[in-house]
Subunit: 102 residues, 2 copies
């Protein structure tokens, strides 16, 4: 499995993370990545073109919110929960908590 | 002083707040609004055209991050700290804390 490029833990920037999370589709993708470790990039139940979805995942990866690895024909997603919690304590739990309730 | 339209406290949406905060200029404006209650919309030290700045303040106001009142020729800004703390506990302090340190 080949990992795609991502920022190091201590290079994750707040403004990039907020930007990445500040979109309803990307917030939903983060929820899904949290609920399903090793998720693929599929769009089940999201009315979003595949190319748009790819772009959303890229923004999340480049911001440091998720890791992606190439696994044959799939890309596997992992939420970088530990890195995000270490860097911005409370942010991820706030977002997952609020999102889960709604 | 005439208040400009803004969402009610309980209508402030997480994704809109994250979007509003996910921009380096807007994050700096939020810091300034926090440091200086009753701030005007001036751009001191920011290399941003006035029209762009007006747009940034509008996005912050429409997301529920700041209140704006028309005071003669000025617009006065107030960070909606109490509303944001009630709605998304920890978010504002995380952002102001991290921002202040950097």
């Amino acid at each position: 499995m080949r990992p795609l490029a991502q920022p190091a833990s201590d290079s994750i920037e707040l403004v990039s993370v907020l930007h990445a999370l500040g979109d309803p589709v990307r917030l939903e993708l983060v929820r899904r990545a949290w609920a399903t470790p090793g998720l693929t990039c599929s769009a089940d139940g999201l009315s979003v073109p595949a190319s748009t979805l790819t772009n959303h995942w890229r923004i999340l990866r480049e911001a440091g919110v998720v890791s992606m690895t190439v696994d044959g024909r799939h890309r596997r997603i992992q939420l970088r929960a530990e890195d995000l919690r270490a860097r911005f304590p409370g942010l991820l739990d706030l977002i997952l908590g609020i999102d889960t309730e709604s």
